[in-house]
Amino acid sequence: NAGVTQTPKFRVLKTGQSMTLLCAQDMNHEYMYWYRQDPGMGLRLIHYSVGEGTTAKGEVPDGYNVSRLKKQNFLLGLESAAPSQTSVYFCASSYSPWLAGSQNIQYFGAGTRLSVL
C-alpha cells in the first residue's frame, strides 16, 4: 500500500499564481486533512473533510480552498499565491472516530515544499 501520497513534492510559484496540491490515500479513510508546517509554529490545520463531498475550515483557512469529490482524494488550492504561503504542506488521513474500535490516528504524506516568490 502506498498510504498517503502527495503531489508535487516541490513547487516554486510567483506571487499571484495559482496551483493545486493533490493528496491521495488508499486506506479507505473517511477523514482527510491539510496542514501547513512553518518553523517554530508546529502544524496548523488549514481545512479538513469528514467524508466525500464535505469540507470544513481549520485554524488557518484564509487564502486556500479545498475539494473532496472522491473519497480517496483531497485537493488544496491556492487561487492567488502570496509569499506568506511559503511553507511545507502536509496531507493526512484517518478512519472516522465514530467507527467502532477506531481512534483518530492520522497517517501523513511526505509533504509538499512550496515557495512563493
Binding site: 508546529g42 490545520l45 481512534q103 483518530n104 490516528i105 492520522q106 501523513f108
Partner: protein
C-alpha cells in the same frame, strides 16, 4: 493560543541514555498522541493514550497522562542515534472528535 505545548524545545543526549519529553495542554481531551518526524519527512504516529488511561507502553516508549495536571510525558529508553527526530504531541479535544491539535515539537538529538 497553543493547546499542546512541548517541553523542552530541544534535547541532546548520548546514545543509551533515556529521553523524557513533556507536553501540557489546556482543555479536556479524548486522547493524547505522540508523533515523530524525521528530517524532511511526514509525521509518523508513535503512541496514543486515552483520557481514562494513566500509562501505556510500546517497545522502548512509555507515555504517561495526568489529566488533573493536563500534562503528558513521553519516555524513550535506551536511546539510539536513529531516534534523532522531532517529536510532537497532539490532542484530540473533547467534543472535537474529527481534529487533532499539534504542539510545536521537540527536537531530539541522540549523539552516537
Amino acid at each position: 493560543s497553543q493547546q499542546g505545548e512541548e517541553d523542552p524545545q530541544a534535547l541532546s543526549i548520548q546514545e543509551g541514555e533515556n529521553a523524557t519529553m513533556n507536553c501540557s495542554y489546556k482543555t479536556s481531551i479524548n486522547n493524547l498522541q505522540w508523533y515523530r518526524q524525521n528530517s524532511g519527512r511526514g509525521l509518523v504516529h508513535l503512541i496514543l493514550i486515552r483520557s481514562n488511561e494513566r500509562e501505556k507502553h510500546s517497545g522502548r516508549l512509555r507515555v504517561t497522562l495526568d489529566t488533573s495536571k493536563k500534562s503528558s510525558s513521553l519516555l524513550i529508553t535506551a536511546s539510539r542515534a536513529a531516534d534523532t527526530a522531532s517529536y510532537f504531541c497532539a490532542t484530540e479535544i473533547a467534543g472535537a472528535n474529527s481534529k487533532l491539535t499539534f504542539g510545536k515539537g521537540i527536537t531530539l538529538s541522540v549523539r552516537p
